[in-house]
């Protein structure tokens, strides 16, 4: 119980800091909108084409939004040595990982919750279904489990903005593939059982990388 309280304390801290400046949510949201609009120019307004490329557009957008927001996750911790302050606190390193991960998850979900209706509106597509919401939530969990780990790593390197996408993108390719497939099936009116294999891959990814990141995170922040 104590464990969860500490985790929530870290998440709470990140959340109020974000609420104060809206640095991540507002900038990533604007970025997301711009990408969606630009894709519209790139693929024209032909509804058949749009139906075909929509899943790809959606996930390219969310992937880059994820990279952008995760890049910021550990920046405040490096100012004024806060990460060391956190490490000196009487909690295990994993608490820091899970707390920060949950905060990033929350921010990403807020961004997606705003972006999805806009996407539906601009592309005239029924993306506000339960199926797509489940796909989005599961995939986003996958993004932030690995992303939080790599974000903590990237912030300790030179050129940290560059290193996160280089690490993050190849590793999350399996869930991007699965999310695109599942979204396509869902948009075409497929049943849950048709989504099952994609969703399974995403879920397996989430669980495995939650465990792996949990285990290796301490090594990333300790010297």
């Amino acid at each position: 119980m104590k464990y969860w309280q500490k985790i929530m304390t870290v998440t709470w801290k990140d959340t109020i800091a974000e609420m104060r400046t809206r640095e991540i949510i507002s900038s990533v949201l604007v970025f997301t909108l711009l990408v969606i609009v630009i894709f519209n120019f790139a693929f024209g307004t032909n509804q058949t084409t749009l139906n075909l490329v929509a899943p790809g557009i959606l996930w390219v957008t969310f992937t880059f939004a994820g990279v952008l927001s995760l890049n910021r996750a550990f920046v405040p911790e490096k100012e004024q040595g806060c990460l060391e302050g956190l490490m000196a606190c009487p909690v295990s390193r994993e608490v820091i990982y899970v707390g920060k991960m949950l905060a990033s998850l929350l921010f990403m979900l807020i961004i997606e919750a705003i972006a999805l209706p806009i996407f539906a509106f601009l592309f005239n597509l029924p993306v506000l279904s339960l199926q797509i919401i489940v796909i989005t939530v599961l995939t986003t969990i996958g993004f932030v489990t690995v992303g939080t780990l790599f974000s903590a790593l990237a912030v300790n390197t030179k050129a940290r903005e560059m290193i996160l996408p280089i690490l993050f993108l190849p590793v999350v390719i399996p869930i991007i593939i699965s999310a695109v497939l599942a979204t396509g099936t869902a948009l075409a009116g497929g049943s849950w059982s048709e989504l099952a294999s994609s969703l399974q891959i995403i879920a397996v990814f989430d669980v495995i990388f939650l465990v792996v990141s949990f285990l290796v995170f301490p090594y990333v922040i300790e010297e």
């Binding site: 309280q5 109020i16 000196a88 009487p90």
Partner: protein
């Protein structure tokens, strides 16, 4: 922290054969020392001697490469979380989030350290460091000196029995520095804490501590109590061991 005043005159810290390497660079090369409860020890040494590394290892922020450290007779490796509860740290970095208010910062750390009666304790401490009027302002808007004062409040929140002070005077003005020592001496934290201080200032170190160590290139080259030493002797001694004027 509660048992720090217990009857056994045991040691607060035992460091044995401590080494730390960063790749090919050996920051600490086998360090041994002991600190008794309530004692205050100052560590002198030129830049790059390993002072900050030593403090970080004692604070469990960094892992040693080898060696054994006992804090309150508990092995640091096995009881890190328990030991962290009794440690307070002040360094030239404040560990404060610029986007949070003073209250939120303190509240955050108070929760992390399970401080009982949080609000009361926070009020007490901001009053102590003279920051009560800025409690609801964002720390990012504070001057350097004010942030440092708040950082002292942060370090004392959980009434630590072991204070690690890594060059605290960097960024602390005279007044805040005096305030820090006053708080530590007055028993604000419950009992007089054990103190380990690193500093460049021989005067201040000698003034505040009962024992001193000189650390040069990752090794302790001198250890002694201050009784016999005057500032001039210390200066000579320091030059002798480090080859640098203090």
């Amino acid at each position: 922290m509660e048992e720090s005043g217990s009857a056994s005159p045991s040691r607060a810290i035992t460091v044995h054969g401590l080494t730390k390497s960063f790749g090919n660079h050996h920051a600490l090369k086998g360090i041994d020392f002991e600190v008794s409860r309530g004692e205050s020890v100052v560590i002198f040494g030129p830049n790059g001697a390993g002072k900050t590394t030593l403090i970080k290892i004692l604070a469990t922020i960094m892992n040693p490469s080898s060696g054994r450290i006992l804090v309150d007779n508990l092995d640091l490796k096995d009881h890190a979380i328990k030991i962290r509860r009794s440690i307070g740290i002040v360094t030239h970095q404040t560990f404060l989030y610029g986007n949070l208010t003073a209250r939120e910062n303190l509240e955050f750390y108070a929760r992390m350290y399970d401080v009982p009666d949080r609000q009361k304790r926070i009020r007490e401490l901001v009053a102590l460091v003279g920051m009560a009027h800025r409690l609801n302002d964002r720390v990012g808007t504070f001057s350097r000196g004010m942030q440092q004062r708040l950082s002292i409040a942060r370090a004392l929140l959980h009434r630590p029995s072991l204070m690690l002070l890594d060059e605290p005077e960097t960024g602390l003005d005279q007044e805040a520095n005096a305030m820090l020592w006053e708080a530590l001496r007055s028993g604000e934290t419950g009992t007089t804490p054990t103190i380990i201080l690193t500093t460049h200032s021989l005067e201040r170190g000698l003034e505040q501590c009962s024992r001193l160590l000189i650390l040069v290139q990752g090794q302790i080259t001198f250890e002694g109590s201050k009784q016999a030493l005057k500032l001039d002797d210390l200066k000579r001694l320091y030059r002798h061991h480090t080859g640098v004027n203090a």
